[in-house]
Symmetry: C2
Subunit: 419 residues, 2 copies
């Protein structure tokens, strides 16, 4: 059977299963998730063994230590995956929720009810825990899932998937509701992206290149973020000690992720006071600084000149661009112009100014007096996430159970006709 037919059959099976899964009770879905957690733990030795094959290949191909780390599974990480399944079992089931009830003058009763999307496709890279996180969120929200992991994690993903899927036969969830595309041929992704009449949404998780590839090659709706160019703005009314802490955290705690800060904006009234010590500490943490002229006037040595390109660059690394701005208005304008509408923060003691910032910055997550690093399904209390969206339609920010649903209108009458 050729690849195209194989992928089509997988998708059709998922679609068929989705109609049954949509009507499975919360209790039964939660029971399945608990059993899946147990299966992961029971089969952890096998999963770690299979993961070893991916790690061996990674070493052969000279992958970066960061990538190897993301790929690595051990007892602790598998326990983490199992815990995440248990946490998802405990989340409130969004399906069947009545979002709105409208009683019309003609007696029609209109109920807006939350229902699953149907078939969700997730295309992701490296981290194997995405396999179980996304499977769990899809099943809990009543969606069939088609998972396509990266070639670098192919053995790990297969092993995790096998453990999860082994459970479905013992539940009322159809076995076909969970699908993994095992082929490492890029053509497999192309084939998947063609199935607009079967797959309801595609969520690509990974680098900007992967996401642009997916968005450019499908008519299926895609929920995505290309990059995270996140800002911290230090107001003249900031608690500067707090601003220092948030700056350090947003930049250095985990620089390789999308919600890490890439540009620091500082009000000119506090720049001379704030910048020297924070830049010294950033440098102490190994961070390169690129600044505008005003920054270079304050910090005389070693600050590279930031170009226009810097303002819209996601470094994903220990590099920070810094700009001195003339108050809130210029900060907001800079963020809305150069940012990626992901996560941006203000540090200020002035509540009114904080409100202004939160209202005027056009991003998925806007923060007052906290680190941008909190943009994350788990940190928001959503259990996990299938991805983070900087799109405005359907889902914005961390996308979890609710983002995997749509609604329908159920209308009950007693013979009403339209005049």
């Amino acid at each position: 059977m050729n690849l195209s037919v194989r992928i089509f059959k997988i998708a059709r099976a998922a679609e068929k299963a989705s109609g049954v899964l949509a009507l499975v009770s919360s209790k039964e879905k939660n029971r399945a998730l608990v059993l899946m957690a147990k299966a992961l733990l029971d089969q952890s030795a096998y999963i770690i063994r299979e993961n070893g094959k991916d790690l061996a290949a990674a070493q052969k191909e000279n992958y970066s230590p960061a990538l190897v780390d993301r790929l690595t599974l051990d007892e602790k990480r598998i326990k983490g995956m199992a815990d995440s399944l248990l946490a998802t079992a405990k989340l409130k089931d969004p399906i069947g929720q009545v979002l709105q009830t409208i009683r019309r003058p003609n007696g029609l009763l209109i109920k807006k009810i939350r229902v699953p999307l149907g078939v969700v496709g997730i295309i992701y890279e490296s981290r194997p825990n995405v396999t179980s996180d996304c499977a769990a969120l899809c099943l809990k929200s009543g969606n069939a899932a088609i998972l396509k992991g990266g070639r670098e994690a192919v053995h790990s993903n297969k092993a995790i998937f096998k453990a999860l899927k082994s459970i479905l036969g013992k539940t009322k969830i159809p076995v076909d509701a969970l699908q993994l595309i095992e082929s490492i041929d890029r053509q497999a992704v192309h084939e998947l992206l063609k199935l607009e009449n079967i797959i309801d949404v595609i969520v690509p998780r990974g680098g900007e290149e992967l996401i642009r590839f997916v968005a450019a090659n499908t008519r299926i709706p895609v929920v995505k973020h290309y990059k995270g160019v996140c800002h911290v703005y230090v107001s003249r009314k900031a608690d500067l000690a707090m601003a220092h802490q948030i700056t350090m955290n947003a930049k250095t705690q985990k620089p390789g992720v999308c919600n890490a800060m890439e540009t620091l904006l500082v009000d000119q009234a506090v720049a001379a006071k704030f910048l020297p010590s924070v830049i010294a500490d950033l440098r102490g943490a190994g961070c390169e600084i690129r600044g505008d002229q005003a920054v270079r006037n304050i910090i005389k040595d070693g600050v590279k000149k930031a170009t226009r390109e810097d303002w819209s660059t996601e470094y994903l690394d220990l590099i920070l661009s810094v700009r001195v701005v003339n108050g809130l208005g210029q900060a907001v304008e800079h963020i809305n112009t150069y940012g990626s509408h992901h996560s941006d923060a203000i540090v200020t003691k002035d509540k009114k100014e904080a409100q202004q910032f939160l209202h005027r910055v056009d991003s998925a997550c806007v923060y007052a007096n906290a680190s941008t690093r909190f943009t994350d399904g788990f940190e928001f209390g959503f259990g996990a996430e299938v991805g983070i969206s900087t799109d405005k339609l359907h889902a914005r920010g961390p996308m979890a159970l609710e983002g995997l649903t749509t609604y329908k209108y159920e209308i009950t009458g007693h013979g009403q006709i339209r005049k």
Copy 2:
């Protein structure tokens, strides 16, 4: 200035205005809508005169009477448009609504707040009232609107738009928040569809050809329905008098619209009893019947054989396909296979069966004991609609104020950093 630059400038102006409009108060937006309603009435003579030019052109081009009727404006219809503006002013403003409040163990306060999408593009055909309906819904929901009507209504749309726009200078809504593309060159639509970095959503309203053209030529998210293949299923447990009434209404009250019935499904247990009189009445109303063999066995003469193609055809005309089915399961399967996920109804006295139908039919609007003709923003109490969606992402069913919004997370802390 060439067309491409002109359209870009219009869109950029709308984008700039959208940032200001997003923060305008409900009171001010409602005041603008009331003034706009007055302006339409004040300038009705002018609008009717300009509409005359479109009607003259339509006669020259031998447009169908139905199309000429949709195009025609008179005092009464302009009064209707003004009333719709006033009704929209009275609707609850969705902007600023707190959709969810989450307090995290670390003290972070996360508020999910409803905000406008930004810039909405609406591409529509024939009916000039769409100009004012959509302008009103966009402004009320804090969105800048770029309207592109059909060439057949170009003078009417310009006149209506002029009346509406004349008001903005007297309000806090930026004048640029309302834009009309006057060019009748199809290239103008192409140029508009290129602006994915400016326009947040496109809603095409019109025939299937227009909608497919838009969807195939843009990377901007499109909310749409291609067609409405709507069903009425008459259960063996139906009140047959009610089923008769609903059938007649769903098919004949306005056959040229998307929520009219195209296929009637009848349970085999009541087919022989139900079909003869309802088919006689349908024929009396000028309706052609196409049936499967079981129908042709009951109605011996004049029933054309329905082909597989009939089951998925939107006639938009006095033609009805009829099939006898073996109970609820087959009815649901038929609808989910051949329908367009728009509006489908069951007639039954059995509440449990009704629930089954409502849950299992995968359509935007599912009815028990009422005509499919109610799928409409006005009939749902939404004031008006920018369109009806059979998509599952973002907006489903009649799309009005809420469908024109997204949300953002506003997060307030007191210096939280991620560990």
